[in-house]
């Protein structure tokens, strides 16, 4: 069964890739979807076995063949279906199926439809290799593979426009991450003599907390995670990646690929457990990323950019949780985030589709009348991401905050701030898009239409999942969720459960009653922000400023209520100011320009080198002799 999970998407890739051009268009999409769905069904079967099996059993190990076996090297092509990979595989194939389904309709007009579906299938295959591989090499294969697919899919619509710079930037950032990952892998091999998870973690288990080598490996692997999961300072590629088709953004850049970094850290939990310093670093970087991305998200007007920054921000939350040692919470948030972020992206795609490829929210407004299903599902997604009580996001965020609270108060407060800002910018986007009046001058309001059933069906399914997704892992005081929740699936209780997961028992995050009250008291605060945003963007129907005239903020607002003004002065304006500053100086200037700078430096050095290569043999001879002189001088004296 395990082999089918992996082989089916590959088959889909090959069939569509090789023969797709001769198939009729209608078949191509369904074919691609069917293969992923088959993979999903296979995953479900295996997962059922896993759930019903006794602790410590039910995981499947499949060794295909030996990849390298020379000298001391021994690397197998092998797959392992354990509880962690099961959860990831379910997300990948499940959400993947829905997004394939959605794409059939969304991409229907595209000439390269078969290419699109074959790339998507290839992506699913690589992602499955990443999470199902039983050793670090397999993970690395998948890691590189998803990078390639991401590159191909981002550029899918770029046909004739040159995107050299953006691509190069994304490239350099991802390669810096990969470099860290590779060096981490080398260190692992050097110290533990194997790449196999079980062997490595067994050896790691004998080390002591704080061992330097563990810290080094943990940090290097985290650099890899930074690149893939878009953390500071390697995050700016993700917003740029939104240039790809929307289903791609939903699948790769929100639900699956970007969570590979989280998977990596959870998988290497044994190493991170011994490296408290590395965890601390992860936590602070996650916090910084989450805050900064949220602030930047406040001022974005492109609907996909808002979602992109919110993805970065949510990934930051997951890393905060990992830094606290709350692996279950992080994974839980991966799951719920996959639901609601895929929902939001697909909803945004539906809006873009309905608006004839308009992505600027300032050009929208009042869409709720025209697109009721999209509106409703988008509302659910928005509520879920903001942590509205009893929706999926509420439970996962609650769990993360519980962990943070018992770990570090300062981080808790700052994280909370970030969560508030999330509420702010998500609802801002929501209200501006769906409420108010229609503001577009290019297309008349009549032309705006609801998307076809093929697109709304995945939205509805995802909306349901976003509502009930929290049930996967109810907090303890609400009783156990499905089969005892994720804790049950993942944790180690000494009773011979399957060991590769969480070798060290996860600490339980007990909080006092007072603190529970504190958490409970947060709900009104959320509501306050909701009211503020509602007031500004719905009641007063403020339109976000164009990028050009961001100065006259006060003029836009009618001077209705004093309380509004005070809210604005005390709350909105400072935040927006910070956001502006961040967008303008930190994101644009510091990060973008520093990475552009790397690109430019490459360019500069490259052109310098090519100027040396001036075509004149006399110069070449002199260079050679000078080189020879230097060598002699270096060695003889």
């Amino acid at each position: 069964m395990l082999e089918w999970i992996i082989v089916l998407p590959l088959l889909g890739f090959l069939i569509n890739g090789l023969f797709g051009s001769i198939f009729p268009k209608s078949i191509v999409g369904w074919l691609g979807t069917a293969f992923v769905f088959g993979s999903f069904v296979a995953t479900c079967f295996l997962f059922r076995d896993l759930l019903t099996s006794l602790p410590g059993e039910g995981s499947v190990y499949l060794r295909v063949f030996t990849f390298l076996n020379v000298g001391n090297f021994h690397v197998d092509i092998a797959f392992q279906f354990d509880r962690l990979s099961a959860i990831m595989a379910l997300i990948i194939t499940g959400i993947g199926t829905l997004i394939h389904l959605y794409s059939i309709s969304y991409m229907a007009d595209d000439a390269g439809l078969y290419k699109f579906f074959s790339f998507l299938n290839l992506f699913i295959f690589n992602m499955l290799v990443l999470v199902l591989g039983s050793n670090f090499m397999m993970m690395f294969f998948g890691w590189e593979g998803v990078g390639l697919c991401s590159y191909l899919l981002i550029g899918f619509w770029y046909k004739n426009v040159s995107f050299g710079k953006a691509a190069r930037k994304a490239f350099i950032m991802n390669r810096i991450g990969d470099l860290g990952l590779l060096m981490g892998l080398f260190l692992i091999y050097q110290n533990f003599g194997s790449f196999e998870y079980t062997e490595v973690f067994a050896k790691v288990g004998r080390l002591e907390v704080g061992t330097e080598i563990c810290t080094a490996i943990a940090l290097l692997l985290f650099i890899g995670a930074m690149g893939k999961s878009a953390q500071i300072p390697l995050f700016t590629w993700l917003p740029d990646a939104m240039a790809g088709p929307t289903p791609v953004s939903a699948l790769i850049h929100a639900a699956t690929m970007v969570t590979a970094g989280i998977y990596l850290v959870v998988r290497c939990e044994a190493i991170y457990a011994l490296a408290p310093f590395a965890r601390e670093v992860i936590m602070w970087i996650g916090l910084a990323t989450s805050l900064m991305a949220a602030l930047i998200g406040l001022k974005q007007n492109d609907i996909k950019k808002v979602l992109a920054y919110s993805t970065v921000s949510q990934l930051g939350f997951m890393f905060i949780a990992l830094g606290c040692g709350a692996y279950t919470a992080a994974l839980f948030h991966v799951i719920t985030h996959a639901f609601f972020k895929a929902l939001l992206f697909l909803g945004a795609g539906s809006v873009i589709h309905g608006m004839h490829h308009e992505q600027d929210i300032r050009q929208m407004g009042g869409l709720r009348k025209k697109m009721p299903i999209t509106y409703l599902t988008f509302l659910i997604g928005t509520l879920a991401i903001t942590g509205f009580p009893m929706l999926s996001g509420f439970f996962s965020k609650d769990e993360i905050f519980t962990a943070i609270l018992s770990h570090n108060r300062l981080v808790f407060i700052l994280g909370l701030l970030s969560a508030f800002i999330t509420v702010f910018y998500t609802f801002r986007m929501f209200f501006v898009t769906f409420h108010g009046t229609y503001r577009n001058h290019h297309h008349s309001f009549e032309k705006v239409h609801e998307s076809p059933l093929l697109m709304t069906l995945p939205l509805l399914i995802l909306a349901v999942l976003s509502v009930i997704g929290g049930a996967v892992n109810f907090p303890n005081y609400m009783g156990e969720g499905i089969s005892g929740g994720l804790h049950h699936l993942l944790s180690f209780d000494g009773g011979g459960r399957f060991s590769p997961i969480l070798i060290f028992p996860e600490q339980s995050f007990e909080i006092s009653h007072a603190q529970e009250w504190l958490l409970a008291a947060l709900t009104p605060l959320f509501l306050t922000i909701f009211v503020v945003v509602r007031n500004k963007y719905l009641v007063k129907a403020a339109v976000p400023e164009a990028d050009a005239d961001q100065v006259g903020l006060g003029k836009v607002l009618a001077n209705k209520f004093y309380v509004d003004e005070s809210y604005d002065r005390s709350f909105v304006e400072p935040i927006e100011l910070v956001s502006d500053t961040l967008t303008e100086y930190v994101d644009e200037k510091a990060f973008k320009s520093s990475f552009d700078g790397i690109g430019r430096a490459n360019q500069y050095f490259g052109s310098l080198l090519s100027r040396v290569q001036n075509g004149n043999i006399e110069y070449y001879l002199v260079y050679m002799v000078v080189g020879l002189c230097l060598l002699l001088a270096f060695n003889l004296f």
């Binding site: 090519s610 290569q613 001036n614 075509g615 004149n616 043999i617 006399e618 001879l621 002199v622 002799v625």
Partner: protein
């Protein structure tokens, strides 16, 4: 034999210095001149400096390998000169020049 008596007075360092000087003169010529034929000649000069050094070592150590090597170097130099001059004539046919600095179309 008079040459033997002279040989007995010589030190190997004299020949090392002499060959190095000759080699450097050839090298200087290669760097300094622009006419491809002269460049070729300077390279021949470098090869001769090496030959001299080989012969000197060979005589000093009483080992014939060095002199055989010189023999092979001469052989190769002849073949190289033939091919080199053929290339030069070819270039001359197309450009009417033997100045190496004229040919700088390939660069970057």
């Amino acid at each position: 034999m008079s040459s033997l008596t002279i040989f007995n007075q010589l030190e190997i360092s004299h020949y090392i210095y002499l060959s190095t000087v000759l080699f450097s003169i050839g090298l200087f010529g290669v760097l300094f001149r622009r006419n491809a034929i002269i460049l070729l000649m300077c390279i021949e000069l470098m090869l001769n400096a090496v030959n001299l050094l080989f012969v000197a070592f060979s005589s000093y150590m009483g080992d014939s390998d060095g002199q055989i090597f010189v023999f092979f170097i001469m052989v190769v130099a002849a073949a190289e000169a033939a091919v080199g001059l053929a290339i030069l004539v070819l270039v001359y046919r197309n450009t009417r020049k033997t100045d190496v600095s004229v040919l700088d179309n390939l660069k970057g």
